[in-house]
Symmetry: C2
Subunit: 254 residues, 2 copies
C-alpha cells in the first residue's frame, strides 16, 4: 500500500474534484461549484493500493471515509474459523467507511479487489459537511440507503434463491452497475473476481459455483472467459435469476 507510487509525485498528480473523471458520467448528479469546492477541501488525499491490499480490518478504527475513484474493492466479514462472507463490491463512485465515523469501530473489513485509487476524507470533517452543506449530508444518507438496497437484495438471494438463481442474479446486477458507469462494452464486461470470491459473495462453495456457472453457460445465457464475461441473453438471465430488470436511479457521489 503506497500513498505515492513510483512515477507519481505526491499531491501534484492527484485528481482535482472539479476535474474528476467520474463527474463526467451521467450516472451521477451534477454538483454546484460551491459543493465541488467543499468536497475538494474535504478530501485529504488519495490512497493507491495494489490488488489484495487490506484497506481496513474489522475491529480497527480507521479514521477515514473513502470513495472509489478507480478499481474495485469488496467489503466482507469473517467467522473465527475463516469462513468468509463478501457483503458487497465497491465500484468507482461507491462510498464506504461510514460506520467508523458513526460507531468508532469498523464491523467489517475492506480489501482491494483490483489495483485501486481511493479518495480519502478525514472523519473529523464529516460534521462540517452536515452543518454547512445539508445537500451533501442528504447525499450521504442517500448513499447509505443505496447500500442498504443492495444488501437487501443480496440477503434475499443468499437466503432464498437457489444456486443457479443466485449466480444469475449477481452476474446480472454486476453487469447493470458496470453498464451504468459506462464500464461495459456492449454486453461484455471485465469481472476481476475469482470464482472463489464470487462464491464467498454468494454463500456457496467455489466448486458448486463453478458448476453453476457452467450450467448458465450451457444454457447460453452467459459466456465467461476470465476475466471477460459476456451476457448473451439479458432477459433470460433475469428470468433465471427470478428477478426483474431494475431501473438504476441517478445518484450523488462524494
Amino acid at each position: 500500500m503506497t500513498l505515492t507510487p513510483p512515477g507519481r509525485s505526491p499531491k501534484t498528480d492527484q485528481v482535482k474534484c472539479k476535474d474528476c473523471p467520474l463527474r463526467r458520467n451521467d450516472a451521477f448528479r451534477k454538483f454546484t461549484d460551491k459543493e465541488l469546492e467543499f468536497v475538494q477541501s474535504f478530501k485529504s488525499g488519495e490512497l493507491v493500493a495494489d490488488a489484495g491490499t487490506t484497506i481496513f480490518l474489522e475491529g480497527n478504527n480507521s479514521a477515514h471515509l473513502y470513495t472509489v475513484l478507480s478499481g474495485w474493492v469488496f467489503r466482507y466479514k469473517l467467522l473465527h474459523d475463516g469462513r468468509r462472507q463478501i457483503l458487497n463490491f465497491g465500484l468507482p463512485g461507491d462510498f464506504f467507511g461510514l460506520q467508523t465515523s458513526i460507531f468508532g469501530e469498523m464491523d467489517h473489513s475492506v480489501e482491494a479487489l483490483t489495483d485501486v485509487v481511493l479518495c480519502v476524507f478525514p472523519r473529523e470533517k464529516v460534521w462540517q459537511l452536515y452543518k454547512n452543506y445539508p445537500e451533501l449530508g442528504f447525499d450521504l444518507t442517500w448513499l447509505a440507503a443505496r447500500e442498504q438496497y443492495i444488501l437487501d437484495e443480496n440477503l434475499l438471494s443468499v437466503g432464498r434463491r437457489t444456486a443457479l438463481e443466485r449466480v444469475a442474479s449477481v452476474v446480472l446486477h454486476v453487469f447493470l452497475r458496470l453498464d451504468q458507469l459506462g464500464m461495459a462494452r456492449g454486453r461484455i464486461i471485465d469481472v476481476p473476481f475469482t470464482q472463489q470470491q464470487l462464491a464467498d459473495a454468494l454463500g456457496l462453495s467455489h466448486v458448486h459455483t463453478n458448476k453453476t456457472i457452467k450450467k448458465l453457460t450451457s444454457r447460453t445465457l452467459i459466456e465467461w472467459n476470465p476475466p471477460k464475461l459476456k451476457i448473451k441473453d439479458l432477459e433470460g438471465l433475469a428470468q433465471a435469476a427470478k428477478d426483474e430488470l431494475p431501473e438504476l436511479p441517478l445518484r450523488p457521489f462524494i
Copy 2:
C-alpha cells in the same frame, strides 16, 4: 389499520415527543429542547395497526417515514413464487421508510408483527430536517448505518453459518436488542414471531428451524415456550453462534 382506534380520540391521545416514553430509555441519546420541538413539528401523526397489517408494499411509494413507538414490525422481500426473506425486525425506536424518500419507491415491504403504534413523518419535510437541524440529519445517517450493520450481520449468518449457528445468532441478537430497550425481564423475553417467520428471517425451512430450536433446547442454551423465551446460557449461546457479545452503542432516534 386505523388512524384512531376506538377509545382513543384523534390527536388528543397522541404521544407528545417531549413526553415520549422511549426518550426515558438510557439507550437513546438526549435531545435538546429545540430538537424535540422540531421532531414534534415533523411528526404528522400516529399509525395504529393490528398484527398482520401491511404497512407498505414493495413497488408502492409510501409518502412517509416511520418510527416504531411500540410493538414489532418486520421488513421483507418476496420472490414471485412466494419465497419470502425477512430482512430485519423493527423494534421500538427503530426507524424505517427512508428509501422511498430517496428513491421514490419502496424496494421492500413492511408488515406489523404485533399490534403496533408508529410515529409518522411526512417525507416532504425531510429536507427541512437536513437544512435546519444538521444534528438530526446526522442521526438519520447514523440510523441508516446501524441498519446496515444489522444487515451485514444477517448476511454473514445466512451466507456462512450453519442452521444451529444461525438460530443461536438471531436469538442472541434479538435478546440483546430487547435487553437494551429494557424489554427483557432478566434472561426472559417475549418473542412474538412464529417459527415460520423466524425461518424466513434465517433462510431456513420452518421444519428445520423447529428441529434446530430443539437442539439448542436440549443443550440447555435456551428454553422456548412461545411466546416466552429464556436464555439459559448467554455465553454458551454466543459460542454456539460463533459470535462475540457486541457492545451496543448509545443511539439517536427520531
